[in-house]
């Protein structure tokens, strides 16, 4: 069973990064459905830094944490995306796709692509939640 996943997936599954919740999160997102058996929750803390263009400030993801109910792929994609977006601007984070997360993990078994590869959706949901609450 462990053999069906890449080394990167197994690493993130066994040693997930940024597990937990952010109590005073700027935004919270959730994706998944119990029928498929994966549920992901993302907490983001948004901060400001001088924009790279030199003018004004831009919003960045200062911190991110996740909680996931699901299979190896669900946990690994959640963990992976948290590493990918820390320090990124919201605009950059919004562009990250589920496929990019899967690629960063060295690929996922085909049956997992559809159901368990939802981390980017959960992150986007958190960003949207933050923007709405502003």
């Amino acid at each position: 069973m462990a053999d069906m996943y890449s080394k990167e997936v197994m690493d993130h599954f066994m040693n997930p990064r940024n597990v937990g919740e952010i109590k005073d999160a700027s935004g919270v997102g959730e994706k998944g459905n119990p029928t498929c058996g994966d549920i992901m929750r993302m907490f983001i803390k948004v901060g400001k830094k001088p924009s790279s263009g030199g003018q004004g400030m831009e919003e960045v993801i200062e911190d991110i944490k996740f909680q996931t109910f699901g299979c190896g792929a669900a946990v690994a994609t959640s963990s992976m995306i948290t590493e990918m977006v820390i320090g990124k601007t919201l605009e950059e984070a919004e562009k990250i796709s589920n496929n990019q997360v899967a690629e960063a993990l060295g690929g996922l078994p085909p049956i997992k692509m559809h159901c368990s590869n939802l981390a980017a959706d959960a992150l986007h949901d958190a960003i949207e939640n933050y923007k709405k609450s502003k």
Binding site: A2, T68, G70
Partner: protein, 392 residues
Amino acid sequence: MDSIYLDNAATTPVSDSVLSAMQPYFSEKFGNPSSIYKIGQKAKSTLENSREEAAKLLGASPKEIIFTSGATESNNLALKGVAFHWSQNLGIKPHIIISSIEHHSILDTAEYLEKSFGFELTKLPVSEEGIVNPRELEKVIKENTVIVSIMYGNNEVGSIQPIQELSQIIKKANEKRENKIVFHTDAVQAYQYLDCDVQDLGVDMLSLTAHKFYGPKGVGLLYVKSGTKFLPQQQGGAQERRQRAGTENVPYIVGMVEAMKNAKKTGKEIADLRDYLIERVTKEIPDVILTGPQIGENRLPHIASFIFQKIEGESILINLDLLGIAASSGSACTSGSLASSHVLTAMGYDDLLAHGSIRFSLGKMNSRDDIDEMMKHLPQIVEKLRGMSPIK
């Protein structure tokens, strides 16, 4: 660490005596039972001796045994064979009754007949312990009911079905009928531990597969009570009294019958081990549900399955796998799919709970040491995964 195999309901290793019984029939006594010369006729007599022994072990007569490639084929042959006999030879639109917790080889076959041929299908509900209520069968039998197929013991939760009571109901319904309803049971998981005498059970058809009781994979049988009408589903040679075309798999048939002879039929030791496992898991891990019958006698001796609330089954299995411990979530086939188990759903568990199910199934190689070793790890695995879960 040595590996610990706790998935004996998926398959079992071929035992030494089975392997040595099979050995001569590969290269030395390799004849085709349909050939008329000596080595062919020797193979024929080996085949017929095996049939006689299998029949004796089931309380049947030899001509009632059809050797197959396993229970999937036996189950397909039973449902399709009987239903097509009715639709093609009698011109009646068949109504099929199964339980809602059958193995996929019954469930999918029945649904295929419903969807592709327009046959009628009724799935009997089960209790929250996974047991069919005979009263429910009584209610759904119709004029065009042709076959009732209810498994003897469930492969996911281990619930034992009241086959004799169900048989009584069908016998009563048949008293007034010209075309008799056929009663089939999938006895795959039960054979090793429970009485499978077809007279005692009162069944017309019964399926077995050898690899669940230390025989080889890819061989099984279908018992068909004489006089039971069905259409063969494989065309070709005249083997198996024209009921199942194809050169007989002599070495594997010999292996299966040896395995049948070795089946102990007593589950006391295994049941004690199972109860030890159940006690430790339910006492040492919070928020665990033992699925299936709570009373030992209503449960197959080798199966214990649990729902670990708030976490998902696969993630538990991977952690166990990395430690060399093999178990499964539901049935071996469903662990490859994303849908939650139809068995747990039929028992009333919601999807979220059903996704947290793990089945441990024991065999003769297991001892308390295996369970002790497993329990050194399982509580921590569950705790770690719960720490990650959004469900509180």
